[in-house]
């Protein structure tokens, strides 16, 4: 895939989201469903690497870009990640505190809630791919409970899950 087109598709996802996770449904729709240049397993791996590395969760687009088109794809993903940030400067200079009006906050709030529903929707195919038995199901439930009830960094959850997978395999089981 042409790297500039990839940049534009990823930019569509990052520009229309208000945090890292919100871009996931749009990116999945474009790259997995419509253009089939990425699989759900690769997208899940991209999200995993983003959670395992420092920086924002939205950096998963760099990994997704790499899966699609190698280093040029990763660069396209990185540029798509950072481009929306430049809108912050005119926002600070010219709009400032007006964006805090109740109506504006209510509109944004509703878009965030809608994106929560979309995130659940995008988790469904990832779950179909990853949860193939009771052990992965237990891991998924455990991860959800830890995220929902604690402030533990997600990297610790990933490390614990990875170690669980490794020990299970080394003890002769399967995951």
């Amino acid at each position: 895939m042409n790297w500039f087109l990839l940049y534009l598709l990823m930019l569509k996802a990052t520009l229309t989201s208000f945090n890292g996770a919100m871009s996931l449904p749009i990116l999945r729709d474009e790259l997995v469903v419509n253009r089939k240049v990425l699989t759900d397993r690769e997208l899940s791996a991209a999200v995993t690497t983003a959670n395992a590395s420092p920086g924002p969760m939205g950096i998963y687009v760099v990994s997704a870009g790499y899966f699609i088109a190698g280093v040029p794809g990763a660069i396209a993903g990185y540029l798509a990640l950072i481009t929306p940030a430049f809108f912050m400067i005119p926002l600070v200079r010219y709009i400032g505190r007006r964006v805090e009006s109740p109506r504006a906050r209510s509109t944004l709030d509703a878009a965030v809630l809608a994106s929560a529903g979309l995130i659940l929707s995008s988790a469904r195919p990832l779950a179909q791919d990853a949860i193939t038995g009771w052990q992965p199901a237990l891991v998924a439930v455990g991860a959800f409970l830890i995220v929902a009830a604690t402030r533990l960094p997600t990297i610790l959850i990933l490390i614990a899950a990875g170690l669980l997978g490794a020990f299970t395999m080394l003890l002769g089981g399967s995951f």
Binding site: P54, Y60, T83, A85, L108, A116
Partner: protein, 197 residues
């Protein structure tokens, strides 16, 4: 906002800066160190960066507060919006750009290396087991992220509005593309304001 007419420094007026203007290498060092040693919560990164910048007198507390709020309404990743805004407040356009790249570029390189590692080792039995387990945990993490987005509104007892928007988007996603669903959600939010407390 403090009156800095004595210094005649317009940027100091905007930033509320009380100390010396930081050098670009100093900006790069701070954002590289804090941005690449914090995992997970973008909020924690923003707070650590902001507190350090205020302590050093690079920006004032009011500017930190404004950047923190605006970063949540700016498009894209909150952390990066905050970083470029804070860097801009401290050192102008160059400061914003240096801050942005200092935080994000090293992390992006790490992500590529991890992706390479995944591609190399995911095919082995041990690698497959590790990947399957982490992929399962990612599902839980993603669902948890959705809950954390909705949780503040549930805490404010906006049950009906939250349920309609979240479940409505989930159901509509079977037929309508995500971007349109978010636009519908935003329109609904405009017409159905949240309760003011």
């Amino acid at each position: 906002m403090e009156n800095n007419s004595k210094t005649g420094d317009i940027r100091a007026l905007i930033s509320g800066r009380v100390g010396e203007r930081p050098s670009l290498p100093a900006v790069a060092r701070l954002f590289f160190q804090i941005g690449n040693s914090t995992f997970g919560s973008g909020g924690a990164t923003m707070i650590r960066l902001g507190q350090t910048m205020v302590e050093r007198g690079w920006i004032g507390p009011a500017q930190f507060d404004l950047n923190f709020t605006l970063a949540r309404v700016a498009p894209g990743t909150n952390v990066l919006a905050f970083v470029i805004g804070a860097g801009y407040a401290a050192r102008g356009w160059l400061g914003g750009i240096v801050a942005l790249f200092s935080l994000s570029a090293p992390a992006a390189c790490i992500v590529v290396l991890l992706t390479l590692a995944y591609q190399r080792w995911s095919g082995s039995p041990l690698g497959h087991s590790v990947v399957t387990a982490t992929a399962a945990s990612i599902v839980g993490i993603i669902v948890g992220a959705a809950w954390l987005l909705a949780k503040p509104r549930v805490a404010k007892r906006e049950y009906l509005r939250t349920a309609v928007l979240v479940l409505g988007a989930l159901i509509l996603s079977f037929w309508i593309p995500p971007l349109q669903i978010m636009a519908i959600g935003a329109l609904l939010g405009y017409c159905w304001p949240e309760r003011q407390t």
